[in-house]
Symmetry: C2
Subunit: 355 residues, 2 copies
């Protein structure tokens, strides 16, 4: 049951009124809200401890473990939102695609999708496929109090890039060869992935996620015309499918400076920006009516406190005129990041932006 | 001795009047000139044959082999320029930096540069350090006739990223930590690399190279403000150092949409553009007085003849209003590219643009 079908509980009301949710809705905030992509993960010793010996994909199917890992950065850093601990390939695994996440490599797909026959691997996702997600989010919303939980999924292009390549790639030559060379098969693949992704996000929202982020991590590999023609329709289908819930929809990719306007157009309420485009310039590209999320270069956290504060100040200054701003890094937290630097960063943003 | 200190030979005059050189100078051309980054290399069976058993860096020090490899794509594809076969780490190896190119990995540096003391690894480069370059270019210019030879070097930032990281990186966390955290050491490192790079380019020009390309392959990892402050001064020093020769200076990086104006400003006559920014938009960012080079997505070559022609036509259409256009891919030729697709592409561009 979604939040807007039943009377709101006091907790739901408090969540709705949190700084993160207000910023996403472009309402005045008590302070700029902060969370970090990959805040739940390898940068935290308590994460490495509870994950010890448990393969990545298995860890995503254990509700208590997911709950613990999702909560760890909230406890430690005082971030303004939790992000559900999972992986973008989880829904694919859940519908039976033969894949695994190999340590030091990434997702590896046993039978890459190259022909129309290969599409048969992709059946629709039903909530029962991911009952552990529903269970974990139930546990989480009880623990989180007024802190919003962000659900997430990989966008059709990024999922397709793994499925067609068979694993991580720097060039996406097979995926793009299909996109350019067999546009009909490509469109069908992305459309099917849009349905799976939408179903996966719906499960998370129905279970209690307050917002969702669609990660099109590798969309930055595409020229704008190709993105518009061959990718945007599928991402837009995902966003439309969850529009009725009224939860903020965030859209993020890396190196997407040329695509920011189109990524907003696809249906996002909040557009994530990496560090390559200053937020004021990003706002011009995205246009009015959207909040922005970002965009401190994650490598700045390796450079000492003074540099972190200087570069953070630059981000906040560039964000000064935005309709809504969620502070984040421009990409995920890097594994070797000092967790204390992240905690200090949250504190710094909160202090600097307190109204 | 540089070309403009002695009377031009008929061959030098023919080279000067070639389509490639004219396009770089933004003069009318008989057809749009074409060459490909990494045209000399792994996509060619004749290259794999002559390289068989010879380590990469050793191959760069054998003048006859360099000559053969550089000529192979000129013979096969009828491209409008040759690019000197080498590697961006060659000048570093030549001054004694302990590094090697590991197959399947890339350049690996034995003692990464992290402190001021580590800078001692970087002494000045003198022509005698790379006498094989002078010899190879002498052989090449005799063989090439009127086809121009492009010399090249890695730009200070890209070289620094390898030296500080100790090898290839997707994130450049150590390099950027130095840039943000110890700006003085960073500036000294880049300044020293600028001198080495300039000296290496001078050797190539003095030996007979008709143009030079500075590869700042990884500059796209930087935000514009950081590029302007921490990288541009060193790249500008390189371009200034070779300005007096009057040879076209090309400047290229990947994912540099936000930096195109600055990369021109650094002193390039020709700005290379990857496929993410259409050339007409790139021209707006670069401003007048510069030619552009690019920018077909190299993955298009995996998609069949029809797709290649359609996407090439789009590049040529976007280039229609440019002051000068050198056709190229938006990044290097990918190793598994069908060489025949490249040959057909050259023919197609020549035919479509014949005046």
């Amino acid at each position: 049951m979604s939040a807007n079908e039943s009377p709101a509980t006091p907790q739901q009301t408090a969540t709705y009124e949190s700084a993160f949710m207000k910023a996403c809705r472009r309402e005045p905030v008590p302070h700029t809200p902060v969370w970090f992509m990959r805040q739940a993960g390898r940068s935290l010793p308590e994460y490495r401890k509870v994950r010890d010996g448990i393969p990545m994909l298995e860890s995503c199917t254990r509700p208590e473990l997911v709950t613990e890992i999702t909560l760890q950065p909230v406890r430690r850093h005082n971030v303004d939102a939790a992000i559900y601990y999972s992986d973008i390939v989880v829904p694919l695994k859940a519908i039976g695609v033969d894949l695994d996440i190999k340590p030091g490599v990434g997702p590896v797909v046993e039978r890459p999708i190259r022909t129309r026959e290969d599409l048969a691997q992709l059946r629709d996702l039903i909530p029962e496929d991911v009952s552990y997600v529903t269970e974990a989010i139930g546990l989480l919303t009880r623990e989180l109090g007024s802190t919003p939980l962000i659900g997430f999924a990989g966008a059709p292009f990024t999922l397709a890039s793994y499925l067609v390549e068979g694993g991580p790639s720097r060039t996406y030559e097979n995926a793009k060869a299909m996109m350019y060379g067999d546009p009909e098969l490509w469109a069908d693949l992305l459309d099917r992935l849009a349905d799976i992704t939408a179903a996966f996000l719906k499960v998370q929202i129905e279970a209690g996620a307050s917002a969702v982020q669609l990660f099109d991590s590798w969309a930055g590999a595409l020229a704008p015309a190709d993105y518009r023609h061959s990718v945007l329709p599928a991402s837009a289908k995902v966003f439309r499918a969850v529009e009725g819930y009224g939860v903020p929809r965030i859209h993020f990719g890396v190196g997407t400076g040329e695509l920011l306007g189109l990524m907003g157009e696809a249906g996002a309420d909040v557009v994530g920006v990496d560090w390559r485009v200053p937020l004021d310039e990003a706002a011009r590209r995205v246009g009015p009516g959207k909040a922005l999320q970002g965009n401190l270069d994650p490598t700045v956290l390796f450079a000492g406190r003074e540099a972190v504060e200087t570069k953070t100040r630059e981000v906040l200054d560039a964000a000064a005129g935005l309709e809504g701003h969620v502070f984040n890094l421009g990409h995920g937290v890097m594994p070797s990041t000092d967790p204390d630097a992240l905690t200090r960063l949250v504190e710094y943003v909160h202090t600097q932006t307190a109204r």
